[in-house]
Symmetry: C2
Subunit: 346 residues, 2 copies
DNA sequence: ACTTAGCACTCTTTGATGTTGAGTGCTAAA
DNA sequence: TTTAGCACTCAACATCAAAGAGTGCTAAGT
């Protein structure tokens, strides 16, 4: 983002944005000259505002109203003006405390985090669990159910145990299944799920030549077990906080936004973009490609676990969010979660 | 419900209710005398309406408005006036077809049902999965994870496989665990989960005397495995249809209702009352104890599986629902689901 | 060359006022 | 017992004026 504003322009944009974030109403020149001691008269401010509007950073709902920042304006504000505040000790402690309890399962961490994000921000907190494909293989077990049904139990190093029922053509004895698992647990240990899938395909190619029936069965089975495109686990909290935002007083808006919340894969896609980058990322209004969400901003950060970037967390709120407060909070939360994930699972 | 209305009174209440259900607006005497050929003038209808209002079955939003039925009025209508219509062949086929695909897992049946109920009614469809306690034991397996961690996998005859991680004090070998499961699978086979819990407690008492270390370990473990008060599985579909009801144009109302939807245990409690009774049950507005839901009616029916009453399904909508259409549809769906559950799992 | 006071102008918001229409309750006649 | 007729009530709607917030422009001040 190019620096397109003079010092004065910045100050005034800053004032408009912060006033707008506080009130949600269009901001007039008088208000600024009074509340923000820029030592300028309303008239001067008006002139500058007109300039800024021309660039496209401000807009007027109607002729005789004040200005509100456009998405572009907010983007400039976030990139070139905003200096986030530091969290107080107390706030940090509050976040730390969330993860203090012993014996938190992954699922608890997720729930606590989404609720933390939502409570702090007073908007909607969201966290996406580590990607299935990034999970590290620890163990697989096959349990014989009925004649041609086998339950595959996949146990990752971290994360939720997953079951899958597999139908087989031939009947397999539990003994055979034990052999399978022993073999698989050996060759797959410590691989990420992605690599597991690759490895299985490679092994199958090898096996084609060697023609060991048991092994090829084992591989076939494991392929099925890992084939599923498991849903991403999304934890959302505080959906209803948006009811309290004056900008969402319109039924239609709420309706579409909620449909987006329901469509979890919209959220996943949106936040998956964040996982590529590093550190806090902010998506403002129309910057995201989903119409349903274009009244919202997302402040998100990837959190890591070990070396794999593993998930994303963040806050969804109206574009007029308090970026100054929420950005450092999301950041600190992401760091804390990363730390916890590391220590919990060596 | 006592018969408190004359034939004429009934006809007029019937007219008011059906008109109100159709339009959602207060109904005036003129409208009735015109549209429903009762061969009475508006003036006569007015007189009767005043009588009905006195009993408490109708009310006026304000002096110069028409009448709307009260919850009591709707209750009388449902009990003493309503004759439900029969489903057409096509509608029945539509419902049947939902369950035709082979290889539907329980979870699919649930999803399809909630969506079916919602689509047909244009309101919110809901189904509660068979109670955990009513599930029939088929198999349990213990898998050793790490030193003192064991994964218990519980496989019911019907329903979702469930995992639970158990921490133990002593380390147990996989061999020992095999012995445990063999023993447990024998003594628990075909019991309902409730009975399983009882049986385990009984066996533990016996064991205290016999002092077989392995057995008592096995029992302790299984007790832990079955201790969890698993969440009820609630499947809801079409939450957002209520946005389209004119009576929910008020933000506050939507807000509270949605909070109730979120609090799944409100829904569970509400529908659990239905499981006691037999056949279709209708809960109108303030008849339910939850304030959040007192603008809604619930049309629900238990569905069975084998001999155990096992779950509930139904439709949640505004009190001015089309009872005449939705009641038979919920009924038929409940019967169909029961049938499917029976045939799928002998 | 900036800055700013002053002013005319625009446009929303608010409240007051009147009108319309749906619906009621009562009365008296059929 | 029914119903036509009539006076009355009240929400909903439209119209209008006044207030207020804010702008843009101009001309004078620094």
């Amino acid at each position: 983002m190019v620096e397109r504003l003079s010092k004065r322009g910045k100050n005034i944009l800053q004032a408009v944005v912060s006033e707008y974030i506080a009130t949600g109403e269009p901001v007039g020149s008088r208000t600024i000259s009074k509340k923000h001691n820029l030592d300028l008269s309303a008239a001067s401010i008006r002139n500058v505002m007109a300039d800024i509007e021309e660039i496209g950073y401000l807009s007027q709902p109607h002729t005789s109203a004040g200005r509100i920042p456009t998405d572009m304006g907010l983007r400039y504000y976030v990139d070139c003006i905003l200096t986030v505040r530091k969290l107080t000790k107390k706030e940090k402690q509050n976040i730390d405390r969330t993860y203090r309890p012993q014996n938190l399962q992954l699922i608890d961490i997720m729930k606590e985090t989404s609720s933390l994000l939502s409570n702090f921000s007073q908007y909607t907190g969201i966290i996406i669990a580590p990607k299935f494909g990034n999970m590290i293989f620890e163990q697989i077990e096959f349990i014989k159910l009925r004649k041609n049904q086998i339950l595959a139990v996949f146990i990752p190093k971290v994360g939720k145990v997953r079951n899958k029922i597999i139908e087989t053509e031939e009947e397999l004895s539990q003994d055979e299944l034990h052999k399978f698992t022993k073999y698989l647990n050996e060759i797959l240990s410590d691989l990420s799920l992605k690599d597991v899938r690759k490895k299985i395909i490679n092994e199958m190619k090898k096996e084609k030549n060697m023609c060991d029936w048991l092994l090829s069965q084992a591989l076939r089975l494991s392929q099925e077990a890992f084939s599923s495109d498991m849903d991403d686990d999304v934890f959302i909290d505080g959906k209803f906080n948006i009811f309290d935002c004056p900008e969402f007083c319109d039924m239609e808006k709420v309706k579409t936004l909620f449909r987006a919340f329901e469509e979890k894969n919209i959220l996943v896609k949106l936040l998956d973009q964040v996982i590529q980058g590093e550190g806090i990322q902010i998506i403002i209004g129309t910057e995201n490609q989903f119409q349903e969400m274009q009244e919202c901003s997302i402040i998100a950060s990837p959190y890591t676990w070990g070396e794999n970037a593993s998930g994303t967390l963040g806050v969804i709120g109206p574009t007029r969010m308090n970026y100054c407060d929420i950005v450092p909070m999301v950041d600190y939360t992401a760091r804390t979660v990363s730390k916890i994930m590391d220590t919990k699972y060596q």
